[in-house]
């Protein structure tokens, strides 16, 4: 079944699959940011006068939580556009 496929096409296809698998990491930051936003909404409900501070802290925390998702995005971009694995052929 794999006989008609050149080495290059095989590496490219596997890189695309790898990029897709890498983006599964987007799950974690999504859940984490959702929890942070929920807690922020709770805090605003309890103390509406501190809304500015709460929003700022929440956004900062979400940005830090996002880091792992961004790493996976960068890896996916590198796999798709830089194609480092083709150099190993």
């Amino acid at each position: 079944m794999l006989q008609g496929i050149s080495n290059e096409a095989f590496v490219l296809g596997c890189s695309a699959i790898g990029a897709g698998i890498a983006m599964i990491a987007g799950l974690g930051p999504g859940i984490g940011q959702g929890i942070a936003a929920g807690k922020g909404a709770e805090a605003v409900g309890r103390q509406p006068e501190a809304q500015g501070d709460i929003t700022r802290t929440m956004l900062l925390g979400q940005a830090v939580a996002e880091t792992t998702g961004i790493y996976s995005l960068v890896i996916a971009i590198i796999l798709l556009f830089v194609r480092p694995l083709l150099a190993g052929l």
């Binding site: 700022r56 830090v64 880091t67 971009i77």
Partner: protein, 222 residues
């Protein structure tokens, strides 16, 4: 708009993001010069113009941000923070003009992050009282954790630069895919996405970059 320079048979390729950095920088420099000459002519006993009021609000809000995050004694960092947030915001918003956003090039974000990194290390060095105190800061709370502290410090510019780069680059890729997939009907769908990726995400990321810079610079002391 790429530039190809030939010097003595060697070709130097300058990608369009770098040209856009110059574009944004020149626009900001001209704006700063205009503001400078206008503010020098402003009279204290007269009613301020709308333009002056807007600028005063901007400068004051950054001053307050620096005061609340870094403390009253670090107000000297406010010009750097203001420059940083203006440059990153202008870079991110330049995606609205149809040019590639300069911050979607990793070399731009890593240089911005390295400026903050060097500044934070210098400030840390200066405040910890000489080389010995600076090195001693890495053995806190115990000597066993020194490698962890060093890695934690080195990871700061990397995570800082990748965060900005990944956000802007990811938005740009999604917009590019939509534009190429939808053809002439693209503006119907992409207009709200421009609001999200360019305006909301761009302003938010510039704010977060400067916020984290302030924490990295001012967080070591106390």
């Amino acid at each position: 708009m790429e530039v190809l320079i030939q010097i003595g048979g060697k070709e130097i390729f300058i990608p369009d993001t770098i040209v856009n950095v110059w574009f944004v920088a020149i626009v900001l420099i001209v704006f700063a010069l205009v503001v400078n000459s206008k503010m020098k002519k402003a009279k204290l006993d007269e009613e301020p113009s709308n333009f002056q009021l807007i600028l005063e609000v901007a400068v004051e809000s950054i001053d307050n941000l620096v005061k609340t995050t870094m403390g009253e004694q670090n107000l000297g960092f406010a010009p750097y923070i203001f420059t940083l947030i203006t440059f990153i915001m202008a870079s991110n918003l330049s995606g609205l003009l149809g040019i590639t956003a300069p911050t979607s090039d990793y070399s731009v974000t890593i240089s911005l992050a390295l400026i903050t990194f060097v500044l934070s290390q210098y400030w840390n060095f200066k405040n910890s009282g000489g080389l010995l105190g600076y090195l001693k800061g890495y053995t806190e709370p115990m000597a066993l954790l020194t490698p962890l502290n060093v890695i934690g410090d080195l990871a700061n510019p990397i995570s800082l630069s990748f965060r900005l780069f990944g956000n802007v680059m990811g938005g740009g890729i999604i917009m590019g895919l939509l534009y190429s997939a939808l053809g002439y009907f693209a503006p119907i769908v992409t207009a709200p996405l421009h609001i999200y990726f360019d305006i909301f995400s761009g302003v938010l990321q510039s704010f977060i970059f400067t916020m984290l810079s302030m924490i990295f610079i001012g967080g070591k002391e106390a």
